[in-house]
């Protein structure tokens, strides 16, 4: 828990003349008397009185800062909305703000992780990057969103799964990172897709069997023949368009694409671990973030994963996380093992 009661509130409590807060006032005075380092993080404070006692509950709150690149390719751009500011009326700014809020809520409520750094740090994003810019990316410090060219792509902030995907790249980096090339790069991409899909499911309250499992369903224009950029449930089927071609993602290790493009096909081969997560989540049922998502999160953050981990190493990490959380002979370990067997990453009989 990184949230703390701010000093001004303690000061008011300490000075409270009301007898029924006597104990709280005493505690506040004692707390204020202890010298401490004040590290500001934002929190939601819920104050209530129960049986004459003042109850203060605090949970972390996001600290979003949205900047506008004003169609240049220079970061960070001009700051246009902070945490306490009202909506701006600029759709991209407000979509980024709301999407980051949904992602923050997901990571906190599902995994008790506060922000990208796990310590309530700022969520910095830049919108209106470049002219007709067909991309959204994580630059190592901030999330950056283009407006799209209008022919193929609309604005990238329209999709919560895209915003959550970019924030997840920050979480992955803070968890130790996965080198952005080959299989470790495809894992980096896949984990970002998993948390992107889960953020959307969490926001909509969807179970695994009723979710779309699509990434970026909102950002193609009507001219494109396709549902989304990627599908976790059926990699390779998200689009099939005259101009863009067909979704190139494999769903099984036997179809792994060897290429030098795209840092070794990180956005292509991510289909394999994406499908493994979908298999584990739908096998377990219910809300995907509660068990399958928690296992993937523990595998990422548990300290067992090296930055150059391949698919097999990550599969091992998810099995270890599932065993630690639920026991060796649990349904969860079985579902995770079946999932990796299903995509050819581990062999049957292990």
């Amino acid at each position: 828990m990184h949230a703390i009661v701010p000093p001004y509130l303690l000061a008011r409590l300490a000075a409270s003349p009301q007898a029924r807060y006597a104990r709280a006032a005493e505690a506040a005075r004692a707390t204020l008397a202890v010298p401490r380092r004040y590290r500001p993080v934002r929190a939601v404070l819920d104050l209530s009185v129960e049986d004459g006692a003042l109850v203060v509950t605090a949970s972390p709150a996001p600290d979003r800062v949205i900047s506008d690149a004003q169609h240049r390719e220079v970061l960070p751009g001009v700051r246009v909305r902070g945490e306490d500011d009202p909506p701006t009326g600029d759709a991209a700014v407000d979509e980024a703000f709301d999407g980051l809020g949904a992602t923050f809520a997901f990571f906190w409520e599902a995994f008790a992780r506060s922000s990208i750094d796990g310590a309530g740090g700022t969520l910095p994003a830049t919108v209106h990057y470049g002219v007709d810019y067909d991309n959204a990316f994580w630059d190592g410090q901030r999330m950056v969103f283009g407006d799209g060219d209008g022919d193929v792509f609309t604005g990238f902030t329209r999709s919560v799964s895209v915003i959550a995907h970019e924030l997840a790249h920050g979480v992955i980096e803070h968890a130790g990172g996965l080198v952005y090339r080959g299989q470790s790069g495809a894992l980096n991409e896949s984990i970002a897709d998993v948390f992107g899909a889960l953020t959307e499911q969490h926001r909509l309250g969807q179970r695994a069997d009723e979710a779309s499992w699509l990434i970026g369903a909102e950002i193609f224009t009507d001219a494109v023949q396709g549902d989304a950029l990627r599908s976790l449930s059926a990699p390779g089927t998200a689009y099939d368009d005259d101009v863009l071609g067909a979704d190139p993602q494999p769903a099984h290790l036997r179809d792994y694409v060897d290429t030098t493009a795209d840092n070794g096909g990180v956005h292509i081969n991510s289909g394999i671990p994406n499908k493994a997560f979908h298999l584990a989540a739908t096998n377990l049922g219910g809300h995907a973030w509660e068990r399958a998502g928690a296992i993937w999160y523990r595998a990422l953050t548990g300290g067992r994963l090296t930055p150059t981990a391949d698919f097999a190493a990550f599969a091992t990490a998810t099995l270890a996380a599932a065993a630690q959380e639920y026991g060796e002979d649990s349904e969860e370990v079985g579902a995770v093992r079946e999932a990796w067997i299903g995509v050819g990453v581990i062999e049957d009989g292990h």
Binding site: A136, D139, G140, Q141, V257, D262, V266
Partner: protein, 114 residues
């Protein structure tokens, strides 16, 4: 004048430049290519020569961050063929000028191979 152009000259253009962009969040590969008529060749040759080809051998080191574009540029000028792979952050200065020129002169099309 059309009569000045021999069919053979049109079949083997003096300059041909291809830009392939892969990666990015969407992971959709795109290709732009130009084969300008001989009279425009000197302008394109200048753009090609301005780029530091000799400093970009082999694939770039993995970039910081994620979902950045990856670029490949291939240029043939007469018998001279050059090729470079660039990280998004390296597409700057003369590279940016060349790539932007190719993209605006070419018809958009998708890279046929991954």
């Amino acid at each position: 004048m059309a009569t000045d152009e021999l069919p053979a000259a049109r079949a083997t253009p003096e300059v041909r430049i291809t830009v392939v962009r892969t990666g990015g969040f969407a992971g959709v590969a795109r290709r732009w290519s130009v084969a300008p008529p001989p009279r425009e060749a000197p302008v394109w040759a200048e753009l090609i020569d301005a780029c530091p080809w000799e400093h970009t051998t082999g694939p770039p080191t993995p970039p910081r961050g994620a979902d950045r574009f990856c670029w490949e540029v291939a240029a043939a000028h007469g018998g001279d063929a050059r090729h470079a792979e660039l990280a998004d952050q390296d597409v700057d200065g003369p590279w940016r000028v060349l790539i932007d020129a190719v993209r605006s002169a070419a018809d958009d099309s998708v890279a046929p191979e991954q």
